[in-house]
C-alpha cells in the first residue's frame, strides 16, 4: 500500500461510519454514528474537513440529494465509500488482525492486573 493510501485513525473511523450507512451517509448521520459508536462528540466541521480530504484521496464519492422526506426537502450531501476505500479498510483490518493474532492475552489482562 502506497503512502498516499494510508488511513489515519479518524479517517478510518469516518470511512467505517460511511460504509455502515449505505445510501444514508449524510454529515449529520455520520456525526451521530460516531457519537453512538465511540462516544466522541466531534465537531461537524472536522467531519467535513476530513471527508473532503478523503474525497481528494479518492476514498469517498458524493452525491447531492434534494428529495429526502425527513429533511423537508432541504439539500443534503450523501457520501459513499469507493472501491479503493473498501480495499484500504480491509487491508487495515487485516493488518490489525495479524497483529492481534500474535498477542496472547486474555481480555481480562487488558484491564491491567485484575
Amino acid at each position: 500500500m502506497g503512502k498516499g493510501e494510508h488511513l489515519g485513525e479518524f479517517e478510518t473511523i469516518l470511512l467505517l461510519a460511511v460504509a455502515g450507512l449505505p445510501g444514508e451517509a449524510s454529515g449529520a448521520a455520520i456525526h451521530e454514528q460516531i457519537l453512538e459508536s465511540t462516544g466522541r462528540d466531534v465537531s461537524l466541521a472536522s467531519v467535513y474537513v476530513t471527508l473532503s480530504r478523503l474525497e481528494k484521496k479518492g476514498f469517498v464519492d458524493t452525491e447531492v440529494d434534494t428529495e429526502h422526506a425527513d429533511r423537508g426537502g432541504r439539500l443534503r450531501k450523501l457520501f459513499s465509500p469507493t472501491e479503493a476505500a473498501v480495499r484500504a479498510l480491509l487491508e487495515t483490518r487485516r493488518a490489525h488482525d495479524r497483529l492481534w493474532n500474535r498477542i496472547d492475552f486474555a481480555p481480562s489482562d487488558a484491564k491491567g492486573g485484575a
Binding site: A28, E32, S43, L44, A45, V49, V64, L75, R76, K77
Partner: protein, 892 residues
C-alpha cells in the same frame, strides 16, 4: 421545529464557504434538533461550539478547492500562534515582558513630549499667538523687556496683528484668618487680553477698556483654582470685595479651569499705564499679539523692523539699535532647551525599544529553529514560503499585542512618576523660571494610545521580520532530509549574528551615554559639597508692592528683617543676596588695569550680598577676607572675586589688592579684598564661571542697575541659619516678614538642601534615566549573546562530540565557542563606540563638567561590553567542553 441560536446561525451564513454552506447548515440543523429534544440550552451551547469550530476550521469548498480567504488564513495563523506559545510559554513570556518594557518606556516618553511640547496652548488658533521682546543686538542683549512707550508706539503703527496685549508680573497675598497670608502670583494685564486669547470667564465678566483707566475702581479676575480653594467655588463671590495685598478689590470674574495665562497665574488685574508719568526708556512689559489670518510671522517681523527703525531714528537716546524680537508664544515659554530634552528622551526610549525588538527577534529565531522540523513538514505538505513567513509574523504580532498591554501599564506608571518627581524637581529649566505651564497635561490620552499601537505594530514587524524571512527561507530550502536533526540554515544563522551585533552596538552606545551622565552626577555631588551648611533656610520674597518704590527701600526691608531675626531664639545668622549659590547671576562687562576693554573678554557674574552671606554657607576666603561691617558707604569700595575670576583675570598670587571696574566707564574702581571658592554654576554650560561679589551695604541709590541686575532687589534671597529646629526657623522667618509688612508675599520657603536638590535635580533625574536604559540594555544584550551561543552549542553537539572523539582538548572546544562570541563583541563594540560618540555630542547640554570625549568613559565601556560578552558566552562554552563523544553519538 426548534430554531438554533440566531446569531450563531448568522455567523455561519456569513463565514461558511458557498460550496459547503447549504449542506453544512442542513446537517447542523438536523443534529441540533436531536440535541434540542433532550435539552434546549445544551443544544444551544452545542450549536455555538460547532459554529465556532466551523469558523476556525479550514473548511473546504465542495469541489475540493482549498479556501484561502484572508480571514481563514488569519484565524488559522492566530490559532497556530496561540498553540505554539502555549506549548513553550517561557520564550513567549520573556518576549512579552521585553517588548512591554520597550513599549512602556517609549509611550511614557511620547506622552511627556505630547503633553508638554506637541499639544500646544488650548486656545483657538493658538499658533497665531506671538510673544514680543526687544533686543539690543550690538550690545549682545537679545532678551529685553518692552517699555510702555514702545508698546504704545507699536500698537499704533502695526497692521500684521489683530491686536497687541501686554502684561507684567504682579505677586501679592491673600489674607487668611489668623494665619500668614497666602502668596498668589498673577499678572497686571491689558483689558483686551482675554478676547485676544478667545477665552471667556466661567462666571462674571472679563475686563473692559474702562477698567484700564487710571483711577478706575480696583477689580480682579480669579483663576478657577483660587476660586475653588479659597472661596469654596461660590459663584456669589463675583461682585464681592475681597482684600488682595493691602487693598480691597472687587471680584468681577472667574476664569475656566486650566486657564493660567501666561504661565500658571492665580489672578489677573487690569494693567493701567499712564504714559505721562513714565520716563521714556523705563518700565518693563511682556507683549503678545494675535497674527491676522492673512499675515505670516515673517511678514510681521519685517513690519516690526520698519517700526523699530523709525523709533530708533526718532528717539536715538533710548531706542538706538533697539529691534523687536518676535517668537511664537508657545516656543517662548516652552523653550528650545526643553523641547530638545523631551525629544532626546523619546529618542533614548526608542533606542531601548529597538534593542528589545532585536532581543525578541533573536528569541523567535532561536525558538523557531527548534521547530524547523514542523515548518519543513508544512512546506512539504504544500504551505508556501509566504504562508510560513506570515505565520511567524502573526506570532510576533501577538507578542507585540501582549507587550502593548504590559507597556500601557508601565507607561501609566512612568507618567505618574514624571508628574510627581520630574516636574517638581526642576528637571526642566523653563525659560521663564517656571517648573510647569498651565496648559501642560501629561497622561495616557488618545494620541499616546495611538502612538503605542503604532509603535507596537512597528515592533511586531521589527522583531518578526528577520525570523520570518530567515526561517521561511530555511524551511523552503527543504532540509527534510537532514535526518531529523535540524541544521541551521545559513539564512537564520547570519540573521541571528547580525541581531547580536546590533544589540551589542546599541548597548555600547547607551553605556557611553550612561557613563557620561554618571560622571556628570559625580561632578554635581562634588560641586554641591562646596556649600556645607546644615539647618539653613532660604526664603524668597517679592518686594514688588506699592511700598517699595526703589532698591533703597527694598534694602531697608532686608536690613530690618536681618535685625529682627539674627541672634534671636530661632536663627543664628541672616544673610541676603541677589542670587543663591548654584544659580546663574546677573552678568556685566568689566575691566581690570591689565585688560581695560570690557569687550575683550566675556562678561562676569555679579552678586550683591550682605556681610554674613559667606559665613551662612560655611564658605571661608581662600585669600584675603570676605565682607566686614566696615564695608559701608563712605568707606573704600571693595569686591570679593571667585577662584575662577582670580585665576583668569588677576595677577597670580596678587589677586588681593587688585583693582577692577564693572560695566560702564562711569563706575568707580573697586579693590579686591578676597578670593572665595567657586559657588555657582550656569545651568547649561559646564565651564567654570567667573564671578564678582559686591557688598549690599555699599549700594547707593542710582547704581542699582549695575550692582543688582535687571530685577534689582525685587526678589531677594534671604538665607537664615537656624539653631537646630527647622520648624521654629520657618515660623520665625514667616513671623518676621509678616511683622514688617503683612502684604509682602513669601514666594518660597525651603531648606538649603531642598534648593540644592532642586537645582541639581535635572542632572540627577537624567542620570537615573540613562542609567536605567543602559542597565536594561546591558541585560538584554547579555541575554541575546547567551541564547544565540547556547543554541549554537546545542545544535553542534554532534560535531563537537566527533571532534572530542578525534582528540580535541577542552581548551580547543572552548576557544571555538568563545571565538565566535569574541568576533561579535568586537564588531558590536566598535560600532557602538561610534554611536556613543554621536550620542555624546547631542548630550553636552545636560552634562555637568564632563568632556564628551572622555577617554576613561569610552575605555571602561569597551571593557564592560567585553566582560558582558565573555560572561554570556562562558556557560555555553563550558557546556560545549563538557560534551562527551558518546552522548553526542547517542543524540545522532
Amino acid at each position: 421545529m426548534t430554531r438554533p441560536p440566531g446569531s450563531a446561525r448568522r455567523l455561519l451564513e456569513r463565514r461558511l464557504p458557498d460550496s459547503v454552506r447549504p449542506f453544512f447548515l442542513a446537517d447542523l440543523d438536523e443534529r441540533y434538533e436531536a440535541y434540542a429534544r433532550r435539552s434546549r440550552w445544551q443544544a444551544d451551547l452545542w450549536y455555538w461550539r460547532q459554529a465556532v469550530a466551523a469558523v476556525w476550521s479550514p473548511l473546504p469548498g465542495a469541489a475540493g478547492v482549498e479556501t484561502t480567504g484572508l480571514f481563514y488564513d488569519l484565524v488559522g495563523d492566530l490559532r497556530g500562534a496561540v498553540r505554539t506559545m502555549s506549548r513553550r510559554p517561557a520564550p513567549a513570556l520573556a518576549s512579552i515582558v521585553t517588548l512591554g518594557l520597550g513599549l512602556g518606556v517609549s509611550a511614557a516618553a511620547f506622552s511627556i513630549l505630547y503633553g508638554t511640547v506637541l499639544r500646544g496652548l488650548p486656545f483657538e488658533e493658538a499658533d497665531r499667538l506671538v510673544h514680543f521682546e526687544r533686543a539690543d543686538l550690538p550690545a549682545g542683549q537679545s532678551s529685553l523687556a518692552v517699555t510702555p512707550h514702545d508698546y504704545h508706539a507699536w500698537l499704533e503703527a502695526q497692521t500684521s496683528f489683530e491686536d497687541l496685549g501686554a502684561y507684567v508680573e504682579a505677586a501679592t497675598t491673600l489674607p487668611s484668618d489668623g494665619a500668614p497670608p497666602v502668596p498668589l502670583s498673577g499678572v497686571r494685564i491689558s483689558a483686551n487680553a482675554f478676547s485676544l486669547l478667545r477665552v471667556q470667564p466661567l462666571h462674571g465678566r472679563s475686563f473692559t477698556p474702562a477698567d484700564e483707566e487710571v483711577g478706575a475702581p480696583d477689580v480682579v479676575v480669579l483663576s478657577h483654582d483660587v476660586w475653588t480653594a479659597r472661596f469654596g467655588a461660590d459663584p456669589a463671590v463675583v461682585g464681592r470685595a475681597v482684600r488682595l495685598g493691602e487693598a480691597p478689590v472687587t471680584v468681577i470674574g472667574v476664569m475656566p479651569p486650566r486657564f493660567g495665562f501666561p504661565i500658571a497665574e492665580d489672578f489677573w488685574i487690569p494693567l493701567r499705564i499712564d504714559l505721562a508719568t513714565i520716563v521714556r526708556g523705563q518700565g518693563r512689559l511682556d507683549v503678545f499679539g494675535r497674527l491676522r489670518p492673512e499675515s505670516s510671522l515673517t511678514e510681521a517681523r519685517a513690519e516690526f523692523d520698519g517700526i523699530t527703525n523709525r523709533l530708533s531714528a526718532a528717539y536715538p537716546e533710548t531706542n538706538a539699535d533697539i529691534t523687536a524680537s518676535l517668537r511664537s508664544f508657545h516656543d517662548e515659554y516652552v523653550g528650545e532647551e526643553f523641547t530638545r530634552t523631551a525629544y532626546r528622551m523619546l529618542f533614548g526610549a526608542l533606542l531601548l525599544l529597538v534593542l528589545c525588538c532585536a532581543n525578541v527577534a533573536n528569541l523567535l529565531l532561536v525558538s523557531g529553529s527548534r521547530r524547523r522540523g514542523d515548518l519543513v513538514l508544512r512546506v512539504s505538505l504544500g504551505a508556501t514560503r509566504q504562508r510560513i513567513a506570515r505565520q511567524l509574523l502573526t506570532e510576533a504580532s501577538l507578542l507585540a499585542a501582549g507587550g502593548a498591554l504590559l507597556g500601557t501599564l508601565l507607561a501609566w506608571y512612568g507618567v505618574t512618576w514624571f508628574d510627581r518627581v520630574g516636574a517638581q524637581a526642576g528637571v526642566f529649566a523653563l525659560p521663564h523660571g517656571s517648573d510647569s505651564l498651565f496648559w501642560w497635561d501629561i497622561g495616557l490620552d488618545l494620541p499616546t494610545v495611538a502612538f503605542l499601537v503604532g509603535v507596537a505594530a512597528l515592533a511586531a514587524l521589527m522583531s518578526g521580520l528577520v525570523p520570518a524571512v530567515g526561517l521561511s527561507d530555511a524551511a523552503a530550502g527543504g532540509r527534510l532530509r537532514s535526518r531529523g536533526r535540524i541544521g541551521r540554515g545559513p539564512g537564520s544563522s547570519f540573521a541571528s549574528e547580525v541581531l547580536v551585533v546590533t544589540q551589542l552596538a546599541l548597548t555600547t552606545g547607551l553605556l557611553v551615554a550612561a557613563g557620561l551622565v554618571v560622571r556628570s552626577s559625580m561632578n554635581i555631588e562634588s560641586a554641591g559639597r562646596v556649600i556645607e551648611a546644615d539647618d539653613v533656610l532660604v526664603a524668597n520674597v517679592a518686594l514688588t508692592g506699592g511700598g517699595f518704590s526703589d532698591d533703597a527701600a527694598r534694602r531697608v526691608f532686608t536690613e530690618e528683617l536681618g535685625r529682627m531675626l539674627s541672634g534671636g531664639a530661632a536663627a543664628q545668622r541672616v544673610a541676603v543676596g541677589t542670587t543663591l549659590p548654584l544659580t546663574l547671576p546677573h552678568s556685566v562687562g568689566f575691566a581690570t588695569p591689565d585688560a581695560p576693554d570690557p569687550e575683550a573678554h566675556p562678561e562676569t557674574g555679579v552678586v550683591s550680598v550682605s556681610t554674613d552671606y559667606f559665613a551662612v554657607f560655611g564658605v571661608a576666603a581662600d585669600e584675603g577676607r570676605t565682607f566686614e561691617a566696615g564695608d559701608r558707604v563712605g568707606g573704600e569700595l571693595v569686591a570679593v572675586v571667585n577662584r575662577t575670576f582670580a585665576d583668569r583675570y588677576l595677577p597670580l598670587g596678587g589677586a588681593v589688592g587688585s583693582q577692577i571696574r564693572l560695566d560702564a566707564d562711569a563706575e568707580p574702581w573697586l579693590t579686591v579684598v578676597g578670593v572665595v571658592p567657586d559657588l555657582w554654576r550656569r545651568h547649561l554650560e559646564p565651564e567654570r564661571e567667573a564671578g564678582v561679589y559686591l557688598p549690599l551695604a555699599q549700594l547707593s541709590v542710582g547704581d542699582g542697575a549695575v550692582r543688582l541686575g535687571r530685577l534689582g532687589l525685587r526678589y531677594p534671597e534671604i538665607v537664615v541659619e537656624g539653631r537646630g529646629d527647622p520648624a521654629a526657623t520657618v515660623a520665625a522667618a514667616r513671623d518676621a516678614v509678616f511683622g514688617i509688612d503683612p502684604t509682602v508675599p513669601i514666594r518660597s520657603l525651603r531648606s538649603l538642601d531642598e534648593v540644592v536638590a532642586q537645582r541639581t535635580g535635572r542632572y540627577r533625574v537624567w542620570g537615573r534615566f540613562y542609567l536605567a536604559l543602559a542597565v536594561a540594555g546591558t541585560l538584554l544584550a547579555m541575554l541575546g549573546v547567551y541564547s544565540v551561543l547556547s543554541f549554537r552549542v546545542a545544535e553542534r553537539t554532534a560535531e563537537i562530540g566527533v571532534r572530542r572523539a578525534l582528540g580535541a582538548t577542552t581548551a580547543v572546544v572552548q576557544r571555538g565557542v568563545m571565538g565566535t562570541a569574541g568576533r561579535q563583541v568586537v564588531l558590536g563594540a566598535v560600532l557602538g563606540l561610534a554611536l556613543g560618540g554621536a550620542l555624546a555630542g547631542g548630550m553636552a547640554r545636560i552634562l555637568f563638567g564632563v568632556d564628551t570625549h572622555d577617554p576613561v568613559i569610552f575605555t571602561s565601556v569597551a571593557g564592560v561590553v567585553a566582560l558582558v560578552g565573555l560572561t554570556a558566552s562562558w556557560l555555553p562554552a563550558r557546556r560545549a567542553a563538557g560534551i562527551h563523544p558518546v552522548e553526542a553519538i547517542r543524540q545522532r
